[in-house]
């Protein structure tokens, strides 16, 4: 599987080594980290959850699409769930390709589609003691 939901910290060294390929002259890695603020509120920690069975399928489809659309050799993505503290890595996406352009494009495609389509949810815990499910709380 090229996409995986994980409950444990993301092993970036192991993932990056999977991108090695004799035809690859470029390697692009995106890391998404937990930041201490959102929409003007001070954030203490995040709680991610996922519908794992479908998330893994949809994530795999996104990787396959990236390989069809862009001239790349390899691509992987992992998303962590559970309680994450400020600075923890929530998501990792990496691509390798012959030349840099397609790696930039494919990496962006993967992370954008994962954020838009994969059933993963984020609950922000604020310093003031309240919580919100992002994209849900203000949506009727």
């Amino acid at each position: 599987m090229s996409f995986r939901i994980t409950e444990t910290p993301i092993d970036t060294d192991a993932l990056k080594s999977k991108l090695e390929h004799p035809k690859s002259g470029a390697c692009l890695v995106f890391e998404g980290w937990v930041r201490d603020h959102n929409d003007g509120k001070s954030v203490d920690r995040l709680e991610y959850s996922a519908y794992k069975a479908l998330a893994n399928k949809e994530g795999q489809r996104i990787i396959e699409e990236a390989k069809q659309k862009f001239d790349i050799e390899l691509a992987f993505c992992e998303h962590r769930i559970g309680t994450l503290e400020i600075g923890d890595m929530a998501v990792w996406a990496g691509v390798s390709s012959g030349h840099r352009g397609s790696s930039f494009d494919a990496c962006r495609y993967i992370i954008d589609e994962v954020k838009a389509r994969v059933p993963i949810w984020k609950k922000e815990h604020y310093a003031e003691g309240t919580t919100d499910w992002i994209n849900c709380a203000s949506t009727p």
Binding site: L54, K57, R117, P119
Partner: protein, 79 residues
């Protein structure tokens, strides 16, 4: 008829349930969500959700069958 529902994220919080089994003969996910929204006071409207049957995206008017597993998918927020 028996349909298994799993709840995630805001729907899990608002219902206080991870899952429940429906025995009423709802014809499709739209009918099931309408009833469950009323029962659990879900704030999200159907048009802001997606739906999955048996771990694959489905349509709101896909007929439900005995033993189906049903998941309502609130707006996602990975990354």
């Amino acid at each position: 008829m028996s349909i298994d529902i799993q709840y995630f994220a805001i729907l899990k919080d608002q219902s206080g349930l991870s899952s429940e089994t429906l025995t009423e003969p709802y014809k499709d996910p739209a009918a099931a969500y309408q009833a469950l929204r009323e029962k659990h006071n879900f704030t999200l409207r159907q048009e802001n959700l997606k739906v999955a049957i048996n771990d694959e995206f489905a349509n709101w008017d896909t007929p439900l069958k005995e033993g189906d597993s049903l998941v309502f998918i609130p707006p996602v927020a990975g990354g």
